[in-house]
Amino acid sequence: MPRKTLISIQNVVKHFDISGGWLDQLKFSGGRLVRRKTVVRAVNDVSLDIEQGETLSVVGESGCGKSTLARTVMRLYPPDSGQVLYRGQRIDNLSSSDMKTYRTRMQMVFQDPYASLNPRMSVRQILEEPIRFLRGTLRRDEIQEAVAAIMLQVGVDPDWRDRYPHEFSGGQRQRISIARALAVDPEFIVADEPIAALDVSIQAQILNLMMDLQQERGLTYMFISHDLSVVKHISSRVAVMYLGTVCELARAGTVFQSPRHPYTQALLSAIPRLGEQGFRHERLKGDVPTPIQLPSGCVFHGRCRYADGRCVKEIPRLRQVDEQTMTACHAVEEGRI
């Protein structure tokens, strides 16, 4: 069935200048003093659509740009170029006051529930603040009702509303972060490694909660994670990122069964397997290059066993290879893999 596109990320580029003040930028080169900037190319020309009601997971190893992409979608960073559309409306160039109407529709849950909750605010204050700020028309008793309802829904006893974050366990705190995101009744939630800091038995609780909430409220998730078995479980589609670009985008079932891009193949082969002795993963040569000096052509060519002359020169574009899968790989396109 055709679904409506909720978020459309189009050719988004995000670079960070890390060269510091102009004195730090001065370098000697060929006997002359030159000023040189150091730029981290975190996200390079990424295009993705997120459909309403789905869970799109973005996976990749640390430094691949998945969190930067998430924050750019949330407009926590403005993109350097490209655009982000919300139901067809551009939101990447809005002023913060115009953005406010979209803040009730899109919310974010962060990785570390110890760092993302203000230790000096009670749970009541944490949950009331977004409601007051973004849904200003509510009366005080209506706000209190909304807070109690949301606490019940995420499984935190509303009687604890006057307690502070340090009085809760990690899992409970992550429930409170989710409650804070839900307090303004959004339809889209970006979850950046929401369970990475939690123990296995607690991870299951939070994942179940997120899946339940999605059903009850028809939420759309953009789920950022490096834990591939979790991603396999909860996603409808998966985008695999490497060095700031999307190298594969496919239905979750398809990508885990028949990954097409050589990087995806290597990544998936390295997932620790329960009940298997020893290792049969595909070893990648070398290390991930630095995003300060991106390789030419395909960013993966230095570690890819299928790379040829074209891969060194030409950047592969994300193309449909079959109904289920899009990859950015010359070798797949030419039928060499």
Partner: protein, 323 residues
Amino acid sequence: MADRDNLLSVKDLIIRFQLRQGALTAVNRVSFDLAKGERLGLVGESGAGKSVTGFGILNLISKPGRITHGSIRFEGRELTQMSEEEMRRIRGNRISMIFQDPMMTLNPVLTIGTQMVETLLAHKPISRREATEIALDRINRVSISSPQKRLEQYPHEFSGGMRQRIVIAIALLTSPALIIADEPTTALDVTIQADILELLLHLCDTEKTGLILITHDLAVVSQVTERIAVMYAGTIVETGATGQIIRNPQHPYTQGLLAALPQNVPAGGRLKQIPGVMPGPSRIPAGCPFNTRCALCEEVCRTVQPPLEPKQAGCLAACHLLN
């Protein structure tokens, strides 16, 4: 395993932290054996006492913590009775430890070569030249290219995965009989994690080095170890052959832990969850420590702590309901 010589034998180990509010028991009557060259996985959630047990073996518990009871026999000698001087000859020599964060383990202002040579000179009566030879050999063995050049580099010049390889090379320097690896790959990406674990497995196998792998990741343990000990709230609740425990767990906690993994449920389905959280060391209930979260809890579980004893399935488990 009776056919192999015993390397390490931990018996009734209790580690307490004496605080102003009272004593906290972080490790409560933990017992296990390790044969020469055997690989044991110590699994559990954070706060279960796995790392404290690891530190306890090396007598590295600092105040206000203390080993208050039990014995640790290693190569026939009692470690708990040793003086600090004697202990220092064992630490980093007969028993090496690998930690989670390689950047914290390596000294950032010394070259890799200096750190490796110093370690060797501290433990062996050999010359600097011989020590350098051994260092080169170990760097070779952890699959790092151009070892000569690497010795002159500083830790910041290596990537995370390479640093952990160096740490493993250092752990191997003195050809220890036992390596204790505390979450050695938790800080690493999944492709690098697989490389490092494979290397560790290969080295322990070829050198016949015993390994205690401390981790929260059951899949990692199942790939690397021969035996598992599952810890919960300071006690071992189940121990046995790795394959058997993964396939056929007996203790309700181990069952819950395995059932909570997404691998064991069809995609998109509801995950089985263990209700509640593990009690901290100040809140461990009387009787079985798991009784607050156990669906099968009976009267006896609230009063009597179950001993770790052989069960029908061939493992050892601490549960009243398995007989």
